[in-house]
């Protein structure tokens, strides 16, 4: 069918809103041209819908209906509300970088005493005055994906982090996305992390709302390059309010003998989609991705991963655990491509879903496309309810129904959470899971 014709009225409204927002979007010349091209790419399709295979389970046209207008830059009151929210979500021993309503907030961030070899700039700075190569890198993600294209067109701010060769950061970097707006609005952020050779870093990203925030849309994207012999640990926690939308994308490219360990947990937002491409560009590298969904009410959370084994001798492990209660809907799409010369690839994917109610739904879509002949690839998926015999054992020992369920849910997601290496960060993720369990009552 003709997608251009299928575009609805809200697409038109957004065209107007892009025109209006343009003056507020950083960058001129090539940057502005790239924005326009990205917007046109988005505009040709509009919000993705179920007839686009990749969005079959997450029909944004039905779920999101329209893209909200660009959020205003935060005023003093908004920053004060954001500061209070940051305090509640503080993690011990991290360097905090805060984005409020899509704008970098220097007063809430910690930019003092940067290690030698660590550079942190805002996206705005780089788009306005960065070197052309870095600016071009910021536009590398594939604009064939409409939500990435929209993000490229509308991105207002973010953090651009560069870590020099040989620098192993011991202090995790924590990028906090906070929505504080009291009127419905959309935020568009993009961040970039360049990790040099023989380097190491831990990146934490969390998505939260300040007290009083109303329905909002967080549109975020992340570009990461991991140099040869380097290690990156990443932890993402989506704890947006229950009226919010979170649409995030990531493109991670690994050099040779690199190690990428990533954990993501979604317990918030009405509708969320996290789409990540992890590309092996150098031999001998390893990726572990661990994901958890904790959903209730009518929440919809989609994790779509594309593992691109383009070179030989790389290994990937994907573990995903979904817990869905009430009428929640969990989606996991895992695509693994092993390209023709990527011999000795070792790729495994295991997804498990736990349904706590008859009306909850979990969709798992594994896709393996293997073009090399000397590889080890596998996937498995299970869906089920809590084991009645385990529940009775726990209740016979004095645990209430909710307590027994909570303990078994913790155990179910525990394997994924245990993958977090840093003790404080693991505790932080466990606390986020606890908050979800306690909210169940």
């Amino acid at each position: 069918m003709n997608l251009a014709l299928a575009k609805n009225e809200t697409g038109r409204a957004l065209s107007d809103s892009f025109a209006v927002a343009r003056d507020r979007l950083p960058g001129t010349g090539k940057v502005a041209e790239a924005r326009s091209a990205a917007f046109e790419a988005y505009d040709r399709v509009g919000l993705p819908h179920r007839r686009i295979e990749d969005w079959k389970y997450t029909d944004l046209r039905a779920l999101m209906r329209d893209v909200l207008p660009l959020a205003p830059a935060p005023d003093a009151a908004a920053l004060a509300r954001a500061a209070a929210a940051v305090k509640l979500q503080a993690i011990k021993g991290v360097r905090r970088l805060v984005l409020v309503d899509g704008v970098f907030a220097p007063k809430l961030s910690e930019l003092d005493g940067l290690e030698k070899g660590l550079t942190i700039r805002t996206l705005r700075e780089v788009l306005e005055a960065g070197d052309a190569a870095l600016q071009a890198q910021l536009f590398t993600p594939d604009v064939a994906n409409p939500m990435v294209a929209l993000n490229s067109a509308m991105m207002t701010d973010g953090v651009v982090i560069e870590i020099a060769n040989g620098l192993v950061l011991t202090q995790p970097l924590h990028v906090v996305h906070i929505a504080s707006g009291t009127a419905p609005a959309a935020m568009f952020t993009r961040s970039l992390l360049r990790l040099g050779k023989d380097a190491g870093a831990t990146l934490v990203e969390s998505y939260i709302a300040a007290d009083g925030a109303t329905a909002y849309q967080a549109h975020d994207s992340l570009i990461v390059t991991v140099g040869d012999n380097s290690r990156l640990d990443q932890i993402r926690l989506i704890e947006d309010i229950s009226e919010a939308f979170n649409i995030s994308s990531a493109v991670i490219t690994l050099g040779a003998h690199a190690h990428f360990n990533t954990f993501g947990m979604t317990s918030g937002a009405a509708v969320s989609r996290y789409q990540a491409t992890i590309a092996f560009a150098g031999e001998g590298s390893r990726v572990e991705t661990n994901g958890v969904n904790l959903l209730n009410g009518r929440q919809h959370a989609d994790t779509t991963l594309f593992m691109d084994h383009a070179v030989p001798h790389c290994a990937s492990r994907e573990v995903f655990r979904a817990v869905a209660d009430d009428r929640a809907h969990s989606v996991f799409q895992g695509r693994i491509v092993v390209r023709p010369n990527a011999q000795k690839t070792d790729a495994k994917m295991m997804t498990r879903a736990l349904l706590l109610s008859d009306e909850a739904e979990a969709d798992n879509k594994p896709e393996l496309e293997i073009f090399a002949d000397d590889v080890t690839c596998g996937h498995g998926a299970t869906t089920g309810a809590l084991d009645e015999s385990l529940l009775f054992y726990l209740r016979a020992r004095g645990l209430s129904e909710k307590e027994a369920q909570a303990l078994l849910i913790q155990a179910f997601v525990g394997e994924a959470i245990e993958s977090i290496v840093n003790d404080d960060l693991r505790e932080f993720a466990i606390a986020a899971a606890q908050r979800w369990l306690e909210a169940r009552g």
Partner: protein, 250 residues
């Protein structure tokens, strides 16, 4: 007042009546053995006392210290002091034994309006009990019963019994799957918990267990009823003559 009174209990599972009017009275300090062939309803009785779902009580009642036990959820029964040592303790991967023990003990104490144990007090108590039962510390760090041998699983049940200090313990086929040495350790653990305030109901197919846990009363079950009751000598009698004589009586 009796501790546990089962009166004329009738129980169905799906369309089949398993217990046809069973009566049993247990007083504090007493140890009762319930013996009987497979399918006589021994395990059904233990499950109904503990509150396992899937059983329909169609007649009679169970009173615990005069209160209607059948109206209570399984966790309420546990907090009141009813403990079932499972014939087949389940494995719970991902839940560390120590976490499980602390959560369970504190849930029971909270339900009784008692203060929760502090972590150091709790650890001290668990270590003491574990030591007396020959349970190594590393077992407590593992997932509940995960990778435990048959004997270790049963010892873990007795550890819980010692920790929760219930008023009545139902031991469901504690001897199944145990060799003689494991049985002796388990039985020693149980005997250490005998007290004038606590009653035990020992369910077993074989007389052998009763050499180690010597009962005050022995009841023979057949086809969903108690068909004969007596002292500890009744078990020896059964050992010699078998259950066949009671099949017709029932």
């Amino acid at each position: 007042m009796s501790l546990l009174e089962v009166k004329d209990l009738k129980v169905r599972v799906e369309d089949r009546e398993i217990l046809h009017g069973l009566t049993l009275t247990v007083n504090p300090g007493e140890v009762h053995a319930i013996m009987g062939p497979n399918g006589s309803g021994k395990s059904t009785l233990s499950h109904v006392i503990a509150g396992k779902p899937g059983y329909e009580v169609t007649g009679g009642e169970i009173l615990f210290r005069g209160e209607n036990l059948l109206e209570m959820a399984p966790d309420e029964r546990a907090a009141k002091g009813v403990f079932l040592a499972f014939q087949y303790p389940v494995e719970i991967p991902g839940v560390a034994t120590m976490t499980f023990l602390r959560t369970a003990l504190n849930a029971q104490r909270k339900a009784r309006g008692e203060s929760e144990y502090s972590t150091p007090d709790f650890l001290k108590k668990v270590r003491e009990v574990a030591k007396s039962l020959n349970i190594p510390q590393d077992m407590l760090r593992r997932g509940v019963n995960v990778g435990f041998s048959g004997g270790e699983k049963k010892r873990n049940e007795i550890l819980q019994m010692a920790l929760f200090e219930p008023a009545v313990c139902i031991l469901d086929e504690m001897d199944s799957g145990l060799d003689i040495d494991a049985l002796r350790v388990a039985a020693d653990g149980v005997n250490a918990l005998r007290s004038p305030d606590r009653a035990m109901v020992v369910i077993t197919h074989y007389q052998r267990l009763l050499n180690y846990i010597v009962p005050d009363f022995v009841h023979v079950m057949s086809k969903g009823r108690v068909v004969k009751s007596g002292g500890k000598d009744l078990a020896l009698e059964l050992e010699a003559s078998g259950y066949a004589q009671f099949e017709d009586a029932a």
